[in-house]
Amino acid sequence: MTDLQQRPSDDRQATALPPDLTVRELGRWTWRQLTSMRTALVLLLLLALAAIPGSVIPQEDIDSLAVSQWRDDHPRLAPIWDRLDLFSVYGSVWFSAIYLLLMVSLVGCIIPRLLVYARALRARPPRAPRHLSRLPESASYTTGDAPEAVLGRAADVLRGRRFRVEPDDGAVAAERGYLREAGNLVFHLAVIVVLVGVAAGSLFGYKGGVIMLNGEDYGFSNNLTQYDDFAPGALFDPDVMEPFSFSITDFQVDWLTEGQRAGMAREFVAELAYETEPGGGTKSYDLKVNHPLTIGGTDVFLIGHGYAPVITVRDGEGEVTKSGPVVFLPTNAQTFESFGVVKAPFARPEQIGLEGTFYPTFAMGEDAEGNLSMPGSIWGDALDPLISMSVWTGDLGVDDGSASSVYVLDKAGATQVTEADGRPFRLDLRPGETAKLPDGLGTVTFDGLERWNKIQISRSPGKLVALAGVVLALLGLLGSLFVRPRRMWVRARRQDDGTTLVEVARLDRSSGGDPEDGAAELAAVVAALQGADDDTTTSNEKEQP
């Protein structure tokens, strides 16, 4: 009876290694192991296990700063982790090896099953087994009708129940639920489609970010030089970059002024004026969270915002050596207390560097003793803006041509400017105010406030392929999980006493088959066969083993 239950989707078993091996046999054996269900299962579990480290250890491409922090904290482990690729688990050789093996196994498993399925589609329902009454679900009764009449009715009844019906010698064989295996195959094929889509995105796509000051004076056009950070895929070709450009004409934040979350910001809207290509005409777009702008195959997202105080530095000779908005980076997501650096390397007689904090809404907090001593920002909105900075002079390390971040002041060759009494000099400015630096170094003016947005731009070709893949996978899955393949047979035989013995049997081939549904179907078919006119019934039903 086992051959009856065999179905195309059934387990390809891992087998023991045969004793005498030719190379060919070894190859076949290896292939069989690789494409066995058991291997697929183990590989799936391995994949799950292998994904864990990446959720615990900081990852280079997700949070590279956390990685460097971690490196500093664990100087001994870091090289070992590096060796094991633990800072980029999802691109590592071993992680890739697992999913590639899984894919090979998948292809190796699915192709033979596709062939089997193609044959099964055309195949007729298999002939009735000799002893129908031995099947787990069966029933029988006797009737006065001729066997041919019974079988004719059986074929009609089963067809009516959407079975594929095949007359057999003295019996009728029927089968339905072919879509289950189809669903299963579609699901597994779709997994490959998803992988292809995702791979296309990570090979040919890119993701970049830029901090844009608000205002029509500042523009961005989509080419490599304009990005602050840029992460291309391995096969990325800059020629695919769409020639759009934009500027941010206005930025609105809705600050909650009451309720439990007063001070929280909502509804960020950056008004974009953009051209899809040079000379293409300017359009506008409200760029919001959850509301990206799509230009061709590229998406533009609003992902951050902050303040850029406009600062003018005049040197000791009265010359303006630096003037304009300076991007300050928020150090507190709630209050937007921000950190920033101003460098004036051309100042005479000495270079001037400023480093300090911007408070959108300045207030003095109390320390443990209740003294008003802790400056802070109490609000993200710029209600009472103030910058508080310390001053450095000397060599700011920008002359030697080496790359230096605009957000970091290199103090190695600089000295901090102090008051006459030796305390560090600090300038606290509100908009419009100017402070004089000690020792005739010059002056600093806080002219006003501008805002910036962090814009992320990404292109991930294949994302629709991937999406289509998962949707297809889901549909296949539904077929695979909920279609119930089953077979039914009806045999009618004239007995010695002239009556006809009718045997009906049913075989459920799904893995979640419900005996009650099965029994109900069997009973319904028997009832339909018997019609209303029959009264010599002996029905027997067995429990599923």
Partner: protein, 328 residues
């Protein structure tokens, strides 16, 4: 009626529901005690025992209704009104509601009353945890959460979580029942291991496509809109993926000779462990998740860290629009 009124009303509703679940649990335990020495096929000789079982179901039914009212009130308490699953507390009361609902509906249709003691105990424990550990005020959603995808994504996650949880209870019961030789008492009344296995499979077969929809379709679509990349290997995503893979392995195990039954049941429990770890555990282990339900303080620290060290331009902007608070 003010938002505060609704909020208080919702808390009272959750408490009332928890009390009802608790009483249902007591009733079921009473029934268990009465069944201690009654063998499977024996008629219940004590009416008290039968009544206790019936009472358990009735109480659980009432609890589910009150639970639903409390959920709706929670949504009405927010300004603007919204779906009641914006933070861990809300996710927990929604998830437990699904568990309770599935149980009561199933119990009305077929004989699964033997699940009563397990389900009520689980729901009472989860609601207590939600109240003691996860309570969070009704807050307006941060911008990133403000999307129709919140409704679709989270509702499917909640539903599949409920189904997987019941599936895990059944698989656990399967493992216990398979080793048990009890002829009297609770275990004797639990159906055959075969039936438990099938029911558990059904819950998983229902939960898996829904989970696929939540994690691999709506999740990426929403992530793409809100964060600019459809898959970020964010810890929450990683664990949702792990859960998905483990349940795929479970479905394979059921079709693989030598893995059916026991091993499959163990895999189902592993799956549920990853599911609940992702929901609760990961929030405490990882600070880098964009899904973080973390409080402001920790966010601040991580943001300060980002700027304190020497940074490359690629890394420095720590503040994500609208990300300063809870995400689902």
């Amino acid at each position: 009626m003010t938002d505060e009124w609704w909020e208080t009303f919702s808390y009272q509703g959750v408490i009332a529901a928890a009390v009802l679940y608790f009483l249902a649990m007591l009733a079921y335990f009473l029934e268990l005690a009465g069944l201690r020495s009654v063998s499977k096929d024996e008629e219940l000789d004590s009416r008290r025992t039968a009544v206790a079982g019936r009472l358990g179901l009735v109480l659980a039914g009432f609890a589910v209704v009150v639970h639903l009212v409390a959920l709706v009130a929670r949504g009405l308490a927010a300004d603007p009104n919204r779906v009641p699953w914006g933070n861990m507390y809300e996710f927990t009361i929604s998830g437990t509601f699904v568990v309770g609902l599935i149980f009561v509906v199933a119990a009305l249709r077929t004989d699964v009353e033997w699940l009563g003691p397990l389900v009520t105990t689980f729901v009472v424990a989860a609601l207590m945890a939600a109240f003691l550990g996860l309570d969070d005020a009704v807050l307006p959603l941060p911008d990133a959460l403000n999307s129709p995808w919140l409704v679709i994504h989270v509702v499917s996650a909640v539903i599949s979580t409920g189904a997987f949880t019941i599936g895990a209870l059944l698989s656990g019961l399967y493992l216990v029942k398979a080793r048990s030789t009890a002829t009297t008492g609770y275990l004797a009344r639990v159906p055959d291991p075969k039936v438990l296995d099938r029911l558990s499979y059904r819950m998983h077969a229902f939960g898996f496509p829904v989970w696929t929809f939540a994690v691999l379709i709506t999740g990426p679509i929403w992530a793409h809109q809100a964060w600019g990349a459809y898959w970020n290997w964010d810890p929450k995503e990683v664990w949702a993926f792990i859960t998905w893979v483990v349940y795929a392995a479970y479905l394979h195990a059921r079709a693989t000779a030598g893995w059916r039954g026991r091993n499959a049941a163990v895999l189902a429990l592993v799956g549920a462990a990853t599911l609940w770890f992702n929901f609760i555990g990961i929030n405490f282990f990882s600070s880098s998740s964009q899904h973080s339900y973390a409080e402001g303080a920790r966010q601040e620290r991580s943001v300060v860290l980002r700027v304190a060290g020497p940074v490359e331009t690629a890394q420095e902007v720590g503040v994500v629009v609208g990300a300063d608070h809870a995400r689902a």
